[in-house]
Subunit: 335 residues, 2 copies
Amino acid sequence: MAKRLGRHTVALESGAVIAAHACVGGKKEGEGPLKRHFDYLTADDTFGEKTWEKAEQRCQKLATKLALEKWGREQSALDYLLAGDLLNQCISSSFAARGSDVPFFGLYGACSTMGESLSLAALLLESGAADAVGAVTSSHFCTAERQYRTPLAYGGQRTPTAQWTATAAGCSILAKDGRGVKVTHVTTGCIVDKGITDANNMGAAMAPAAADTLVAHFKETGREPSYYDLVVTGDLGQLGREILLELTKEDGVDLSGVHNDCGLLLYDRTAQDVHCGASGCGCAASVLNGYLLRQMEEGVLRRVLFCPTGALLSPTSSQQGESIPSIAHAVALEV
Amino acid sequence: MAKRLGRHTVALESGAVIAAHACVGGKKEGEGPLKRHFDYLTADDTFGEKTWEKAEQRCQKLATKLALEKWGREQSALDYLLAGDLLNQCISSSFAARGSDVPFFGLYGACSTMGESLSLAALLLESGAADAVGAVTSSHFCTAERQYRTPLAYGGQRTPTAQWTATAAGCSILAKDGRGVKVTHVTTGCIVDKGITDANNMGAAMAPAAADTLVAHFKETGREPSYYDLVVTGDLGQLGREILLELTKEDGVDLSGVHNDCGLLLYDRTAQDVHCGASGCGCAASVLNGYLLRQMEEGVLRRVLFCPTGALLSPTSSQQGESIPSIAHAVALEV
């Protein structure tokens, strides 16, 4: 049974571990500094499909398949699959899971989805309802640009605050026992909206949500940031990271020595011309399920607080002049 | 701790109850046969807002507010809020929950969302992570028509198999103890796709998913359909219901004497010109959180198997010639 430590945080007792994990990336991800940590990379962002949406489905499906292979068990050993993505009606996830014969819960947390799915997966293990749960998410540069901004062929100019949506997917398989990185705490965020309306400046919109969740985590667990080797947000990018560090400092939590952001890790910002960094569900998902978990398994990192953030806007809400509600979910991982 | 009975079904042990519930409807819902079971009805489908999307947000927010009032506790007594809806990026839910200060998990299960949110809420109680969880969803005729089909002003002809998206929301508050209808079992569906491509015939697309989940429920619990006073699907409508009865009969489960569909209960199909019946997340949500739970509390119904279904298509997937993956989640309720 999980133990509630405060408004946002529960400590897990059942010993949930990430028993296997895999990540998949496209061309740009294969040219970035983390390329050797991907399980599968392709220079063909279509993944052999006729539409970008079908390409993203295949990318997500592949991440689940590779994680199952590394786990060494059939998909029928999964009690639940938790999945979500950025596309309207989450079609990447629904179509990827079609025919999989695993009881399915669809999620929507925008780019926080890897945190949401890990949190719920861990709590499902805790409930006794499951012995193994898959958590998967994806994004694709071409589906996201078309849906959120303009079709690629339009050739729109990117603003300096823009980030680059990752073409990537990541899957974790959580199990009740066995080897793997332990999930020890789940800190669930509220929706935070500080009035940012610029859909090309997601980092600024999401930073207050990340600050809210992280400050709650440290307060409720009684831990200092230095407890962790790394506190890593999902895709705040350069500007969002700066805002996060300021906001948390105001609340007495100094993350400066211990923080990084998956959006800053995935690409070489200068050489790869991605402005403020990477974004998209697939960014945090692939960095976690490749680089970060590998670093933990190799003992380079022993304690990581993983906190992806999501901007819960839609093109319709932006067109109606609305600001951008955001959310962040943190999951504490230990070797 | 929950006890797993089979691939899809777990039995709950912690005594989760629906401690409070509320539903909200618009003009057409207020003219239908269930009008006296709504907590709030308005003849103004704008809910006083300037856009249909903001109207739906207000509708959902109101359902949560009314459920909390009937519960008699502040929202700070909720450990989690689980919410989802049909709109792109689930903006009805995210914007409705903005500023609510309750840890939030966004869901996407299309019209199965009330079943998904109840299932996860019950399992979160079971995990020990929560003492009280809100589960809420909504739909709005005008937002759904614009997004999935054509803007209202276009005046498109409706096909005979079409259903009418409910302008409604429903909220359940699940708590670990106290009075209320008990949640005893959760049967989680897989994604089922039998190749239906007609986006105006959702009932036919969703019926196989409902059949799959319901047959699994009866097989795994060892129960007969007659155990229940009512087995109620979400929004299969008239055609979908007929297909469901045939499909389950083929699998040796005869639902004919015990089945109804929220899509057939919400409106008077003939007098209200809704063709095959009602649909939308708000259909099952409002029928459950009004009529059905009231009937249970009054002792008219003692055992109900609630099984809403979702069609996981998007306009983009339909335009790309894809068929319609569907899902159904069942929750067993007892007085």
